[in-house]
Every structure is written in C-alpha cells, then in structure tokens.
Symmetry: C2
Subunit: 272 residues, 2 copies
C-alpha cells in the first residue's frame, strides 16, 4: 500500500475521504505486472476530480506508483483512492486542497469458472439508487447504497443483485453494469441520474460500435429485462459475465446472443 | 483524538468509513467539560447503527471516552465517527464487523454575534439532496452533496445555503435544519426522503409542543419560505439562529415570531 507514494497502511483522521466520503476511486485489473485499461481509468478519474472540484492529480505520478506496486504480480486488483486530502471540521473544502493518493493491491477474486460458461444467478435488491445528476456516473466514495444492497443477501449461489432507481428503472447491479441483448441489439441503462459509468461498460459500447452492433442507452425495468434474449454483466475485474437467471426467470440458451457476446469479448481482448 | 479508546490521529486504510463512507457521525457541543444533549445524540447514533446494520457500539464506553477527551474544556466541539470497521475489498460487509469509534475535539466555531441578534443571510444552492428513504434522516458519512453545496459560495457574508430536493422542496441548509414561522405556527421540512434529522431540530419540536406552539412537518418551497413571517436555522453547535434574508428577500422585523423564537430558546436552555 502506498499513500502519496509512501508505504503505509494508515491515513490521517483528518482525511475528507473518511470524514465525508469526499473523494473517488478506481478498481483496476493487474495482469502480468501491468494495470489494464489504464488510460480509460485515468480519464474517468480526471472527470470525477473535475466534477468534485478536486485539484487534478498527476496521472504520470500515479502510473509510476501503480507500476511499482504491481511489479512482479501475475494478477491482482489495484485500487486507487483519491481524496480531497485533509481538512478541518465542516463540509466546506479547505482553500488549498492537497489531494491524497491511496493505492492498495488485492488478491484476484476467485470467480467460479461456471459463472462464465453457464452464467450467474441475479436477484433484485430492495435498496434503490438515488438520483442526483451532479454525482451520477462518477465512481465517488459515497457508496452506502451499494453496501446496503449487497448486505441484502448471503446466499453464495447468487452472484449479483440488480439495483433500481426510485421509478423502478434498472440502473446496474451492485458492482457491475448491465447489458441486455434484444433482437441483436444491445440495451444498457441510462446513467444520467444514477449509477456508475463503468470502464468495461464503455469498452463494450465502443467495441459493439466497431462490430456494427447497435447499442441503445435507455430506461429498462425488470419485466423488460426478462423479455430480453440474454443479459450480461460487466466490470473491470470480471470482464463480461453472462446471466443464467434473474430471480425465477431463466434465460434460454440463445445462440445468437451468446455469439454476439463472444464477438465483443474478442474485440475487447484485441483492443487491450 | 481517540480511536477505539487509544490516542492516535491515524486510521487503517482498510476502514470502510474511508472506502465507502460506511459509517455515521455525531457533532456534539461540549460546554464546561460536558457533552450536551448526550442521550439524544446517542439515540440517533443507535438508530443509524440499526439502519445500516452496524453492530451497536457501547454508549457507556463512548461516554467515558467523550468525558476523558472533554475534561477541562470550557467549550468545544466533539465529533464522534462510528464506522463499520475494517474490511476487505468489495461492498459486502465482513461477516463479523468490529465497528471503529473515532473521537476528535475541535475549536468552538467563531460565529459573529450579529448572526444571533440581526440574523444571517441565506442563499439557495444548486446542488440538490437526492431522495432515498433508507438513508434519509441518518447522519451517515456519505456527505458529498453537502460538500458540493457548501463549495458553491465563498462570500463570508453568506452564512448558509438552502438545499432543495429534486422536486424543489426545501429540505435543509447545508449544515443546519430549518424552521419557518407562519401565523404563530412552526413549519419544518419533511425529512422522510432526504435530509438529516438534527438533534436540535428534535429539541425545538419537543419544546414547541410543551409551549403549545403548533408544529407542522410539511413540504415547503423557496417561495413559501419567503412568505413566512420569519425563518430560523438550528444545529447542535449554533443552537437557534434567525434568518435576516433569503437571497434578495429580507424578512421584516416580525415581533411575534421573534418572541416565539426566544420562548423556544429559553425552553431548550431550561430542559438541557
């Protein structure tokens, strides 16, 4: 672990990340000592810094810190937190902010193989996404809604939980974005009011475009998802993972949807 | 500063308060070495712990830690943070949580005297409160909305900013609750979907009840506030503070409203 480049596993109590969740994070796959999709993660981080009014961190410095942590690692997960830094009591940011860079390495998660061959089981969470267009899309540190949603189930057979907004539109799963395949087209939820705009989601949308697969960003509810030919989840660590069932609805083995998914997986592997 | 009873100014990086804002806080006035309205603060903290599924902290232990920090202090601010404790990567709370207690003392804020004699100037913030009935009312650590709202102005002549919800209802100011005096009645915003249910707000409602002053909890918009006889703000440190002006609307010197405010201030002083 590195905090502002210095090996330590502690941060000051005065850090506004702890006090108010005043910061951002990125979760990055490390393969063969290299952080994957680095540039995309840094573009999103910079977008978040700008939206929150946090002075922009030096991305080359972050890269050299990331490389020094990842050196010799076959695979793992690099988590980068950037907070607004330390401050006094009160919501008002200090006049001069010195953002704090917090890098930590974690084990590669032990996803069962059958998730990727047979698909995963989803449930629908009761905890909703709130709507706030100033915060939507950002991977900021205010994540209580996901914590409460993930706390709703213990069954290890259920891989993920869908989270809706107040109006009943599906926004995402607790830690992944969502795509539906409908008549050869991809549909993914609109994130203009809620949700996190995932780096893997962005890659899927781009690669689909290159493959000539239409992508529609739209509101979709649970019943709409059940009528899709297939669903898959995306995040930077898991990649692309098919969905076998949503609550009691099982998705049939829809060959064209599986083919489309594999084409995208190959296109992403080729572009990385 | 005390973390789990031990003097230190650091917390582990693995703390879920930093990682996800997974925790709660209380801001308590300390006068003559004693934390004020201690029991009310602890009732709210326990309500938050229950709502987030954080194992309940020992309030007697917290009290003894609070007293040891406050010993010999004429006046100051005690901030108590309770997080879900340390955990691994991922939103899912660990099977066994060991909450972390973080206590820190801060200087009494330097409020100008004229705030309390002549009233303060308010503005209306662009940053909105999001709606989430699972989180509303709680003083949890996901406070980016207030940070962004407080970041909107620098003018030291403006004491506070009103924050509305998506529908345009006024919920609170950035760090205080709000009451309007309308024809001898108190009106304060409904916090069932957004906002923090302040300890001083609760005291005002209770004391008004004892004084026979009607209190209505209702949706109210900015235009509605401008039509009130008077407004005042409440929080545990500032107490009760009159409002001189809301944007360009000045409140007239409404004698009955001022009398009512003073009656409540006296009742609260008597009940403490």
């Amino acid at each position: 672990m590195l905090v502002n480049g210095i090996p330590t596993d502690q941060v000051p109590l005065s850090d506004r990340g702890l006090q108010y969740g005043d910061g951002l994070f990125e979760t990055i796959a490390v393969i063969d000592s290299k952080p994957r999709a680095w540039h995309r993660h840094m573009v999103r981080l910079a977008r978040g810094e700008s939206a929150l009014g946090i002075p922009e961190t030096d991305k080359e410095q972050l890269y050299s810190e990331a490389l020094s942590l990842s050196h010799g690692l076959l695979n793992g997960v690099l988590k980068i937190i950037v907070t607004r830094g330390s401050g006094g009591r009160g919501y008002r940011p200090p006049e001069v902010c010195k953002p704090r860079r917090i890098l930590s390495l974690h084990n590669w998660p032990d996803y069962p193989d059958h998730w990727f061959t047979e698909g995963v089981q989803l449930r629908v969470c009761e905890t909703r996404w709130s709507r706030n267009s100033r915060l939507s899309g950002l991977k900021h540190l205010n994540r209580l809604e996901q914590v409460l949603a993930r706390q709703e189930w213990q069954d290890p057979e259920i891989a993920e939980g869908l989270m809706l907004d107040e109006a009943g539109s599906v926004i995402s799963a607790t830690q992944s974005n969502l795509f539906a395949v409908v008549d050869g087209e991809l549909v993914t939820p609109d994130l203009s009011q809620s949700g996190i705009a995932g780096v893997m989601r962005e890659l899927v949308i781009e690669c689909a475009g290159k493959l000539g697969i239409p992508v529609r960003i739209a509101a979709i509810d649970v019943e709409g998802l059940k009528q899709a030919d297939a669903l898959f989840l995306t995040n930077s660590i898991m990649g692309i993972c098919p969905v076998a069932a949503l609550s009691d609805h099982r998705f049939k083995d829809h060959k064209p949807a599986a083919k489309l998914r594999h084409e995208i997986i190959e296109a992403i592997a080729g572009s990385a």
